[in-house]
């Protein structure tokens, strides 16, 4: 059963945060700093906000989050495997 939650998520605030993070990403690549860690951080945060609030993983049944996490784990394992195979070949 879906967890009932009376207070509504402020979706406009989440959307604004996503756009702000996007602008921060663009600013980071134009600054004379090592921007890659910032890109990974901001990109990861954006993906997390979308999954938790827009896809309702924060409020929905834990099993859905678990299934998606298996997919993400599989994706990460595939990324590592492909990088290792293709860069050592």
């Amino acid at each position: 059963m879906e967890t009932t939650h009376k207070q509504h998520t402020n979706y406009l605030a989440v959307g604004a945060a996503l756009i702000a993070l996007t602008i921060l990403e663009v600013l980071a690549v134009n600054l004379p700093i090592p921007a890659l860690p910032f890109l990974v951080l901001f990109g990861g945060l954006k993906a997390l906000l979308i999954a938790l609030y827009f896809m309702h993983l924060k409020m929905d049944r834990r099993v859905f989050a678990g299934i998606f996490a298996i997919g993400i784990f599989g994706a990460l394992a595939l990324i590592v495997s492909l990088v290792l195979i293709m860069t050592t070949a």
Binding site: M1, V14, G15, V26, N30, P34, L36, V40, G43, G74
Partner: protein, 199 residues
């Protein structure tokens, strides 16, 4: 004539169908991971033709990202509207989402036209192949999302949904947000990392 289902039966059907779409989205994560990683590995291995640094710009993809993020807000607002029992607001938000999706595709078409003009095609070099594969597959998912949303709008138009019966809106929304999430990663990997001056 169909028999009305009980609240419990509706909850069970809802959970089963949501479970199915989450399994599908989990498999899609692995699918996109394969193509995005291949892009990262091969983008700089072209032996001829223009490379990513010469042809990729940031402005149009930035606008596309903002358009897609706003479309996610309108999609989730559509679901919220029907949960509150407002059918009119729901299909207005759904139509707005479909329109923003079409705007995204228009911008993508504009970007493709620019790249083709610059001599980058799927067969010009390795960069062209991996770039058009990753972004083309994503664009295909956007097209499927728009068709799905318009199908939900058509159903909504006939009064199919209510505050207690909105599963198709929720499922279309999950797919649409996933397409948005994948674009967030493509924007970072394909466009932003190409602009890096310092790693």
């Amino acid at each position: 004539m169909s028999t009305p289902i009980s609240a419990n039966e509706y909850e069970m059907e809802r959970d089963h169908r949501k479970l199915a779409i989450w399994v599908f989205l989990a498999s899609e994560s692995i699918f996109f991971a394969a193509f995005i990683t291949t892009f990262v590995i091969y983008r700089g291995r072209s032996v001829s033709g223009p490379g990513p640094r010469e042809v990729l710009t940031l402005f149009v993809p930035l606008v596309m990202t903002i358009v897609l993020l706003i479309s996610s807000v309108t999609m989730v607002q559509a679901l919220q509207a029907i949960k509150e029992g407002s059918r009119t607001r729901m299909w207005q938000f759904l139509l707005a989402t479909a329109f923003l999706g079409l705007a995204f595709l228009g911008l993508k078409g504009n970007e493709y036209a620019h790249l083709i003009q610059e001599g980058v095609t799927p067969s010009s070099n390795i960069f062209g192949s991996v770039y058009f594969t990753v972004t083309g597959l994503h664009a295909l998912h956007v097209i499927v999302g728009i068709v799905w949303i318009l199908a939900v709008v058509a159903k909504a138009w006939r009064g199919a949904f209510s505050a207690t019966n909105y599963l198709p809106v929720e499922l279309a929304g999950l797919y649409w947000h996933f397409v948005d999430l994948v674009w967030v990663l493509i924007f970072m990997v394909v466009y932003l990392t190409e602009q890096l001056r310092f790693m």
